[in-house]
Symmetry: C2
Subunit: 144 residues, 2 copies
DNA sequence: CTTGTTGCAAAGGATTTGCACGGCT
DNA sequence: AGCCGTGCAAATCCTTTGCAACAAG
């Protein structure tokens, strides 16, 4: 499988765009960090490497990353966009603790299958989906 | 089953708040309209009945409607909040056509059950969830 | 009088955009 | 020269909030 960074580079080339130092730094930070970072968080981390990079460039680059298929924008309910890795990691859904904010990536093949079937019953061919499960985790329920 | 409007009124009373003409108009418009209206759209419709109502009041009232349990905020991906009726209509998920924007409310009990089980496997007790299925509908695929 | 409500305008927060400059071809 | 990319600041969009006036108990 191709490296995500390479996928990005090829996407850039194919569209007559340019691989710039800023873009490389942002991609690098994005790929290195775990979890679901906001643009703000990515911006902070990139600045540690190069504090001349502007926030607008982070916004613009994250859009490119999404277009190229290595990133995916997710929304957890606060008004902020977050990004997670898409290329090279399987699809997953989100299980979020409403008490502590903990966020698990989960997957259930049976649900995936039923989603396809449900869509088909309505005449749809699915291209993607997003599922967010909200609840309270063990720790927050005070379970020993 | 109680009328949604009554549920709202009782919620208002229980919390030491007041039933005002503005709130009544907004609830009325919200309950009358179908679909998933944005605050802006609700505001426009309310203004036709009473053009003195302010947009801030619509925002504030929609929050009350959510708290009282008769409305639910949903996000389809553009940056705008939409509201749908919650009380008196069962829970459902969304099946959205990416080509024409058509939006179906769907439900699959088996998926609902599996979601509970999936959460339980991770030590969570679910309080709610949101599932958005994106695809292309029959019409848009050019099927006869 | 006290408490909650309202419209307005100002403020906020996140994201986008206009622009002049800079680098590469 | 011709493009694309960049940082900055200004602009936008959606939503919230401060405030003075108001209404009801």
């Amino acid at each position: 499988m191709k490296e995500p960074a390479q996928v990005f580079t090829e996407y850039i080339a194919k569209n007559g765009l340019k691989v710039t130092p800023q873009r490389l730094r942002i991609v690098e930070v994005f790929l290195r960090e775990d979890g679901h970072l906001t643009t703000e968080e990515l911006y902070e981390r990139v600045k540690k490497v190069d504090n001349t990079v502007g926030q607008a460039t982070v916004y613009r680059t994250m859009k490119l990353l999404c277009d190229s298929g290595i990133a995916k924008e997710v929304h957890f309910g606060d008004g902020v966009a977050r990004y997670e890795k898409k290329y090279g990691s399987e699809h997953h859904d989100h299980l979020i603790c409403e008490a502590c904010g903990k966020n698990l990536e989960v997957i259930d093949e049976q649900i995936e299958l039923l989603q396809e079937q449900l869509a088909a019953r309505h005449g749809f061919v699915l291209t993607s989906h997003r599922m967010y499960l909200y609840g309270v985790c063990d720790d927050c329920r005070g379970k020993k």
